[in-house]
Subunit: 105 residues, 2 copies
């Protein structure tokens, strides 16, 4: 019986960068983020985006869920609609992390 020593291999930043990158690793999700950034003033409903996308609504909903879980967006219930918008906290963290990842001497 041996004690498995837990060694940390990746930094927190590396793991966060991987996590944010992963969730942006699909064109539908990039499209959604673009859409929300372009329309911060207006309301963005799932249906608004669904009209422009060639995927089932349930599939879109799944992508929205992933973005929400990653902290990049948030949804505000406004029955029977759900209004989505950027989660500023997560969005700026991602921006910050990716920024320093790419911009080094």
């Amino acid at each position: 019986m041996e004690i498995k020593e837990k060694v940390k291999v990746y930094t927190d930043n590396q793991e966060k960068i991987a996590r944010y990158s992963k969730v942006l690793g699909h064109p539908v999700r990039v499209f959604i983020m673009d859409f929300l950034v372009k329309n911060t003033d207006k309301c963005c409903y799932s249906g608004d985006m669904a009209e422009e996308l060639p995927i089932a609504r349930s599939t879109l909903s799944q992508h929205l869920k992933e973005l929400k879980e990653a902290g990049l967006i948030q949804g505000e219930i406004n029955p029977p609609y759900i209004k989505y918008c950027i989660n500023k906290t997560g969005w700026s963290e991602a921006k910050e992390l990716l920024g320093t990842f790419f911009n080094r001497k």
Copy 2:
């Protein structure tokens, strides 16, 4: 028999962003890019990185292949070693695309 009309839904940039993000969507690959950026002067062999990573060499090789195919790194044969380095073209494209993706008014 109907003609399937091919409609473009995502912009080229959205697809490129998704592609670069996807390949950065794994901590091992973020680690590799960090490693290569930090050591642009020195030689970076697969084995150098393998020593610091808790994965099989064949697995590392697979990750290197993905980064190479995405255009983020390149390998120069220097027998029996293979020296890896950043692919400046792809790296700056990714930096540029992600930069404008995150930095909009």
